[in-house]
């Protein structure tokens, strides 16, 4: 018997091995194990709960198996033993390798990869390093390089600053006022739960280790697989940033939305679907 009050989303753990360490990794998926897989990467300092609206979307579930996982140190994926003796700093090498290792551990064959913010930045790095492993790359609020985030890092671990109150206005400033009120505050809550030092560690990837400008033009070779969705209400992802990527990756499909901000999938699920649907249709048609 299925209780109609229970959502169709299922959460489980998978053990992902990388660099000799075992990462017990939490993931959620929707109710279509036979659908075409879309693997979703969350933003810096957050976790897979950001994709809950997409995971619960019955129309999406008719065609796709949506999978969202928590990176180690995030959400329900605990950091490995010994975390208390090392500063968490997400590197490009680890991030790319972990996403690939997760997909391998899940036994996924050329899934669609989609990520937001830092998950959108790494899309270009993975597309460069492993173009053949994925059937499409969808970058949300993606940037080829972004130097400013890391400047805030110190204050998220400062003993006289409460990180989970500091983060709320910063997050609020990246969300359009047109988004439903409850969704806007939901994102503030998600960020306020972030573990100690995790956001600065993620900023290390976003602002220090990630820079795809040099190999952007090389991605033109797989441009038919490259998609960029960017909302206008985001002071960290202006149209000029998107234009720069579009100029470098000849043929990339770009969707700019006036209704979205930095967290498209969380802040306004309906507006996100409107931007995402034509991209998914295009990917499906290309595969026929």
């Amino acid at each position: 018997m299925v209780d109609s009050n229970i959502e169709s989303i299922v959460g489980r753990y998978i053990h992902v091995e990388l660099d000799g360490r075992d990462y017990r990794t939490y993931f959620e998926e929707n109710a279509n194990p036979k659908g075409r897989p879309i693997v979703c990467l969350h933003t810096a300092g957050a976790d897979s709960i950001e994709f809950r609206h997409l995971l619960a979307d019955p129309e999406i579930a008719e065609r796709f198996r949506v999978i969202a996982f928590d990176m180690p140190w995030h959400g329900r994926s605990l950091p490995p033993d010994g975390w208390w003796k090392e500063e968490y700093k997400l590197s490009r090498r680890f991030y790319v390798a972990f996403v690939v290792a997760f997909c391998e551990a899940m036994g996924l064959d050329k899934p669609i990869l989609m990520g937001c913010s830092m998950g959108g930045y790494v899309m270009f790095d993975i597309a460069h390093d492993h173009p053949e492993r994925f059937s499409a790359f969808i970058s949300l609020q993606g940037r080829d390089q972004e130097k400013a985030w890391d400047g805030l890092s110190k204050w998220f671990v400062h003993p006289e600053v409460n990180a989970n109150t500091l983060i709320r206005p910063l997050i609020a400033s990246l969300i359009p006022a047109s988004a439903p009120e409850a969704r806007r505050y939901e994102i503030e809550w998600i960020y306020a739960r972030c573990g100690p030092g995790v956001l600065p560690g993620d900023f290390h990837f976003a602002s220090v280790d990630h820079d795809s400008r040099e190999y952007g033009p090389k991605l033109s070779r797989i441009a038919e697989k490259m998609y960029l969705i960017a909302g206008d209400w985001d002071w960290s992802c202006f149209k000029e940033h998107t234009d720069r990527i579009q100029k470098a990756i000849k043929g990339i499909t770009v969707v700019r939305s006036p209704d979205l901000g930095h967290f498209p999938m969380s802040e306004n699920p309906a507006a996100f679907r409107k931007a995402l649907d034509p991209v998914l249709r295009q990917i499906e048609q290309r595969s026929i």
Partner: protein
């Protein structure tokens, strides 16, 4: 700009709005708002928030929030968060490619105090959008 009516309405809004009350309940800071030639001191002590127009040197402050008269107008507009959220107004120019996008607000001074109280500062500033005066 900082008329008696505006200060009265702002004081009332800050103390009556539940979200702002929560955000300021332990806030302790003094901040100078300066827009064009006009200044207003925001003095918060554990939830008690006071506003002093044109403060003298008798009133020290921890950090300032500065912008033009146009920035003040934008801050009070309700429709466009990219340009009227205090954080967006302070950071958008820094994040932009080139100089086409202006930075409307500058936060300067004791950054530890600023970041410790940022939620409260933004809550107070956001009330400027909802009041008359």
């Amino acid at each position: 700009m900082f008329s008696d009516a505006l200060i009265g309405n702002l004081t009332r809004a800050v103390h009556e709005d539940p979200e702002t009350r929560l955000a300021t309940r332990h806030a302790t800071f003094s901040s100078l708002l300066e827009f064009g030639p006009h200044t207003l001191l925001v003095k918060a002590r554990e939830g008690d928030v006071k506003f002093i127009a044109s403060p003298t040197t008798d009133e020290p402050w921890d950090f300032s929030v500065r912008g033009s008269a146009e920035a003040f107008r934008l801050l009070r507009e309700a429709a466009t968060p990219l340009t009227n959220h205090p954080i967006g107004m302070a950071t958008q120019g820094l994040m932009a490619v080139g100089t086409a996008t202006p930075t409307h607000l500058r936060f300067e001074g004791n950054y530890q105090k600023l970041y410790a109280n940022l939620a409260a500062v933004c809550a107070v500033l956001s009330q400027l959008r909802h009041i008359e005066g």
